[in-house]
């Protein structure tokens, strides 16, 4: 059983207490302090379609510390299965609220120089390496929430894969939320050195369906020449939780970044993704799926920044909406001056299951070079009565027929998922949520 040890608040005192407790190097403490000062000057994000009315930042704890093993009695089945199914051969980490509770890396990988630990541990044990990457020039303090994240981050992940090391099996990270008004400021730094390969899967679950949390996710992925990274992210917080994510990858020459993200939980979710295509031959591939119900609000944005010639990016996002939920998609393809022969594709498709749901979409292009191929598309469609009728005439009941149409809608996106584990998990969680909705 875990026991709540302490909570610190999102203020100057809380910041000092946190930094002292974590016993950090001076440069990290300084970064936190600077970010806190920036936070005072910055406003909350203001987006065209997403208002943050009702978000009371003061309500949330900056840091929550538990003692002992997490109580999993009320955990969703998938979490218990994940935890009980791990062997010594698996690389995985578990974080409960603000702090890491478990990290495991197989000896074989450790011997090859792979690092996989929580970020606070990395600050102690791999300070020199971490300093090169942690919140240097990739992560941006654009709004108050980004700055608060940079001031109060804790736990999180540092994953480093040395040159030419190729890891086939996924490294798994489980972020669990339990405490009421908990603040989770998870920051992940992934460095894939030249010619390396890795697959990382991050899953977010709430152990309690009621206690709300404030979650900010910062992710920085650095891909050196020829590196390949697959990143899977599943978000299934409870529906009292506000979740804000800023995920960025810098992709060097001939490197490939592959994102698969699934959005199921949360009350209000703002998820921003940025891919910087920084070397010729760089490739970014982004697949995202969202299924919202009740009054959930998902605001997803995906941005491709083509900085140099001969780069390629593909973004595919599909959303299914029911009840009074809302989906917002904003995407940007930016081709910088001189980035000739850039090839970019971006699409957002929404399926609206009933009256009352709302979808807003804004796929944008900013093109500063002429020898490029850029296309984007957005569409919204409804549950087709004719298709429903056809399926029912073939013997499916209405619930089955509807599900078949939803599955069919997601299928082209599912086909684009290259990461098997992420595909399986997404399909399972969508099915589970759907069954509850139809029950």
């Amino acid at each position: 059983m875990s026991k709540l040890l302490s909570e610190t608040k999102l203020n100057q005192d809380g910041l000092m207490a946190l930094s002292e407790r974590l016993d950090e190097p001076a440069w990290i403490r300084e970064k936190r302090q600077n970010a806190w000062e920036r936070a005072q000057a910055l406003d909350l994000p203001q987006a065209r379609y997403t208002q943050l009315r009702g978000l009371e930042i003061e309500k949330y704890a900056a840091h929550t510390l538990h003692a002992g093993k997490p109580d999993l009695s009320s955990a969703p089945a998938v979490v218990s299965e994940l935890l009980s199914g791990k062997s010594n051969e698996d690389a995985f980490g578990v974080q409960l609220d603000s702090s890491a509770v478990q990290f495991q890396l197989p000896e074989a990988l450790r011997k090859q120089g792979v690092i996989f630990c929580d970020l606070n541990a990395a600050a102690r044990e791999h300070e020199g390496l971490l300093k090169k990457y942690l919140m240097q020039d990739l992560f941006k303090l654009q709004t108050k929430l980004h700055a608060l994240h940079a001031a109060f981050w804790s736990g999180g992940v540092f994953l480093y894969v040395p040159k030419d090391v190729q890891i086939e099996a996924p490294l798994n990270m489980l972020f669990l939320h339990r405490g009421a008004h908990a603040g989770l400021f998870t920051h992940t730094v992934i460095v894939a050195e030249r010619g390396s390969k890795l697959t990382y899967m991050e899953e977010n679950y709430a152990l309690d369906r009621q206690a709300g949390a404030l979650h900010t996710a910062g992710v920085e992925v650095f891909l050196m020449e020829g590196a390949k990274v697959q990143y899977g992210g599943i978000q299934n917080w409870n529906e009292q939780t506000y979740s804000f994510g800023s995920r960025r990858a810098r992709i060097a020459k001939d490197a490939t970044m592959d994102w698969t993200l699934g959005w199921l939980g949360g009350r209000l979710v703002v998820a921003q993704l940025y891919n910087e295509l920084a070397g010729p031959g760089a490739l970014a591939h982004d697949v995202q799926m969202a299924y919202s119900h009740n009054k959930q609000h998902f605001d997803i944005s995906s941005n491709l920044v083509h900085q140099v010639p001969d780069t390629k990016g593909e973004v595919r996002v599909r959303s299914v909406l029911r009840d009074r939920s809302r989906s917002v998609f904003s995407g940007l393809i930016r081709i910088e001056s001189g980035a000739q022969r850039s090839d970019a594709y971006q699409s957002h498709r929404a399926l609206i299951l009933n009256d009352g749901a709302r979808s807003d979409s804004s796929p944008s292009l900013e093109i500063n070079a002429n020898d490029v191929r850029c296309t984007h598309a957005a569409s919204a469609s409804q549950l087709d009565d004719e298709k429903l009728f056809y399926l029912r005439s073939r013997g499916l009941d209405e619930v089955q027929a509807k599900k078949a149409i939803v599955d069919g809608f997601f299928q082209p996106t599912v086909d684009n998922i290259t990461m098997e584990l992420a595909r399986q998990r997404l399909e399972r969680l969508i099915d589970e949520k759907w069954e509850k909705d139809e029950a």
Binding site: L353, E366, I367, R373, A378
Partner: protein, 480 residues
């Protein structure tokens, strides 16, 4: 979102630094020395608004609207999206110029000096040959209006706005400013305060005007704002094609054109409004065009923007009756020092409404085109269908093309699609044309004309010729 804004700001900064290089306007670059009867003192003030209203002999309610407009204009912040408006100096603009007393009814009565300007643009010929009427606006006052007798007999009204207000005060009091209220945006408010000229058109029930009506606007004086205000009403089952074309001589200091066009298309009526905008390269063109489209009616905006240093213009259709149709065809051409921020807006507010937006843009020599559009399906607009297509052509590697579509859907029984492509002129196509004996600039202009053909096809013959001529002129010297 803030990242997008951040990028936008960076770019705006870059645009601001670009020097506004004057384009070769030889065929249109002429300036007349006219003794103006009246020129209002530059700058914005309540007194000028009162003076304009008094000189025009307007009813008190109009003065009230003008003053409200001024108030709103002063309160509203300058938009931070779209183009760079920081160089626009409101105090340097003259808000009203009346070039001569009264109005000419036939061409012969129009003063010689002014007539020459139009002759260079070929207006009288155009009218003689083809057009139903010509409302030519020189400076702020409509000079010349003529509507062919047969339309007059059928009850079609085609007047300048000032005369319209005098002759039909009840229509004005009831409808003016209802389609585009002063509070809609900063420049609609400015127009409300200082409007002068523009057209008033009424087409009675069932009357189909088969030949286009045209109004030609020109700006002659430097630092002079032109705030034309047009109100068009199509009664049930009526049909009209209205053409507005602009050219202006090149001047060194910036000038402002901020028009408001209000259109009401009643049940089963059909309206096409064509704009051929070719202001001089130092002009700010900030226009609000909107149509309310009732059941079974159709509205079509055909909008070509070639001139100005900055155009911000998004013709819109409010589809308020069942089965209404809206169509927007936008063509933008941006060369050196130009930013065309154009597009369209369709609000589906009734069942089974359909819309189509087609945008074609060409950027060259460092020019920037931005498509900015909104499709909104409001609650209750079941069975709405909308399709948006954007094609951009970039002719060199230092020009810019942006696409900012917004799609808002509050209803489930709808079909909405958006597609955009950006490309360059194919090497093989260019090679083929050159192998057939065309010079590179001839080949390029042929390709560009092919790209915008869909637009040229909607124009009457003379306009299509003029448009093609303009494109060819623009393309000359674009190689290298």
């Amino acid at each position: 979102m803030s990242e997008l804004q951040h990028l936008g700001e960076k770019k705006r900064g870059a645009t601001a630094e670009q020097e506004v290089v004057e384009r070769d306007y030889t065929p249109y670059d002429f300036r007349d020395d006219i003794a103006y009867l009246h020129k209002a003192a530059p700058g914005l003030s309540v007194d000028i608004v009162k003076e304009i209203s008094k000189m025009k002999g307007e009813p008190p309610w109009m003065l009230k609207k003008r003053l409200e407009g001024l108030e709103i204009f002063l309160q509203k912040p300058t938009p931070t999206w779209g183009g760079d408006l920081s160089k626009l100096d409101y105090d340097k603009i003259s808000y009203y110029i009346k070039p001569s007393e009264g109005q000419g009814h036939t061409w012969e009565e129009v003063p010689d000096k002014i007539k020459k300007t139009f002759e260079k643009l070929g207006i009288p010929e155009a009218e003689r040959k083809f057009l139903a009427g010509a409302g030519a606006q020189y400076e702020s006052e409509a000079i010349y209006h003529n509507l062919k007798k047969e339309w007059e007999d059928r009850g079609v009204i085609f007047l300048d706005s000032d005369t319209g207000l005098k002759k039909y005060p009840h229509i004005y009091e009831e409808l003016w400013g209802t389609v585009v209220p002063a509070a809609d945006n900063k420049y609609a408010a400015l127009n409300t305060a200082f409007w002068s000229g523009g057209s008033f058109v009424y087409v009675p029930k069932g009357v189909q005007v088969t030949m286009p009506l045209q109004a030609y606007f020109r700006i002659n004086a430097a630092d002079m704002g032109q705030f034309e205000r047009t109100l068009i009403i199509l009664d049930e089952g009526a049909k009209l094609h209205y053409i507005e074309g602009c050219t202006a001589p090149t001047y060194s200091s910036s000038s402002l054109h901020s028009g408001v066009i209000e259109i009401i298309v009643k049940k089963n009526a059909s309206m096409t409004y064509t704009t051929l905008q070719n202001w001089a390269n130092n002009m700010y063109n900030l226009v609000t065009q909107r149509a309310i489209v009732h059941a079974g009616a159709s509205m079509s905006w055909v909008d070509a923007n070639l001139g100005s240093c900055l155009t911000m213009k998004y013709p819109s259709c409010y589809l308020v009756g069942e089965g209404a149709t809206g169509e927007i065809l936008s063509v933008a051409y941006a060369g050196d020092g130009q930013h065309q921020d154009t597009g369209g807006k369709v609000i589906h507010a009734a069942p089974n409404t359909t819309s189509r937006i087609t945008s074609k843009s060409i950027s060259l020599r460092g020019g920037r085109t931005s498509y900015r559009g909104l499709v909104k399906i409001a609650k209750g607009a079941t069975g709405a269908k909308s399709n948006v297509m954007c094609d951009a052509l970039l002719l060199d590697d230092h020009s810019v093309s942006d696409t900012y579509p917004y799609i808002e859907i509050e209803e489930d029984r709808v079909t909405v699609g958006h597609e955009a492509t950006v490309g360059k002129v194919g090497e093989d196509l260019l090679f083929y044309l050159r192998s057939r004996g065309l010079s590179e600039s001839e080949a390029l202009s042929l390709i560009v004309l092919g790209f915008v053909e869909e637009f040229a096809k909607t124009l009457p013959m003379e306009y299509a010729l003029e448009f093609n001529r303009l494109i060819q002129l623009e393309m000359e010297g674009s190689v290298g």
